[in-house]
Symmetry: C2
Subunit: 253 residues, 2 copies
Amino acid sequence: MINVVLIGNGNVGFHLTQALLSTKNAKLVQVYNRSLPKISYLKEIVSITNQIEKLKRADVYIISVSDNAIETISNQLNVEGLVVHTSGATPITSLKQKSRGVFYPLQTFSRSKSVCFSEIPICIEASSKKNEDLLEILAKSLSKKVFKINSEQRKSLHVSAVYVCNFVNHLYYMGQQLCEKHQVPFEVLQPLINETSQKIKTLSPFEAQTGPAMRNDTNTVQKHLQMLNENQKEIYTLLTKSIYETYKNGKKL
Amino acid sequence: MINVVLIGNGNVGFHLTQALLSTKNAKLVQVYNRSLPKISYLKEIVSITNQIEKLKRADVYIISVSDNAIETISNQLNVEGLVVHTSGATPITSLKQKSRGVFYPLQTFSRSKSVCFSEIPICIEASSKKNEDLLEILAKSLSKKVFKINSEQRKSLHVSAVYVCNFVNHLYYMGQQLCEKHQVPFEVLQPLINETSQKIKTLSPFEAQTGPAMRNDTNTVQKHLQMLNENQKEIYTLLTKSIYETYKNGKKL
């Protein structure tokens, strides 16, 4: 049984709390948060605190706070267990402890949307083989998908995630705004959205591309541009150019 | 039983052929294509031709050719049935026939990727109630999801589809390129891609947004920009700005 103290309770920390409370192979012994009221929902289930110097003994301390607070928290910790953070964008060296690691669940977390933790890839890295083994056991108790990823690789995963998640969601938002403006139900687009996300399991994104930009169908592009406001137009133009450039030599139709 | 002649066999026509051959409520009586060898794979199953003046009698003629050829084909047709096209970006008035309509399957079609046609929204429009009823029966024989959408609405759906499908797929491509460059398996991102596409079934895209741009986390943004080439950087910067602008007044964290 691995004893865990969780530090922080933002979107990641919130869902990690649920996952740690559900698994039988790890025990959540304490949750720390700067603001106690924000974690008072947990007080019947687990020990809570807002005093960083009063953390319980544990095997693993998971720091799940905003990126720019990780180093500060690490400096305040005087503990014996393995200290890890959950950030995609922060190197392992931001932690001052000798026993340190990274425990990065690669998913988009919103408080109001439950997630199936067992399907979430957890990217781990640790300062020693022993610590890596410990983290691996912990990760596997929460998820079926555990990857050993070093800080350099994780950095690139994090920026990729911005493209395939944050930016993608913003394009959904733009599509939804256009539908709303023209009184078309956005749900009409959901099967297309699904298929687009599933298609790349069997085709590479390069092969999966369709649409006017790839075909260099300037007629359709011009018609579309007439329907857009300045911001929409700017994004449309840049992405159309980028797709066109990707396929102009040896595009497949 | 509705008799159908299909004109054209590109990506949409190809998948429509399969769907029409599979349904019991419609009969595909002929497939026309400019190039006969391209549809020779059908010759044992259905009548094929490359002579537009020799089309068989049918209830519905579906023109599924590139947008800029629709008008030409329509002008060449001398038939009695209902003539429809499958284009999202072309108004119904591009067809010269009195009995005319639109039969727009809203999906991304690649020849090498099979699709479940019954899940594809079909947007229909017709020149009369009688023709609309006929198209609706035909559409419902192929799909569970049939929507009556006028030309104006369809235009906006088409441009939305470019955002949520073509542009989204290009962002997947950029994510995949980054992974490849740093030797990280792209599959690590698939659960994130899935969740991002599914999340908007229960949250609006506005609510579903996460990431550094929305949080105005300029530290992370700067770190990311250092990892990108010029084209990647340009897209990253523009989308980050657009997300930031969307949330700067009244963002939820």
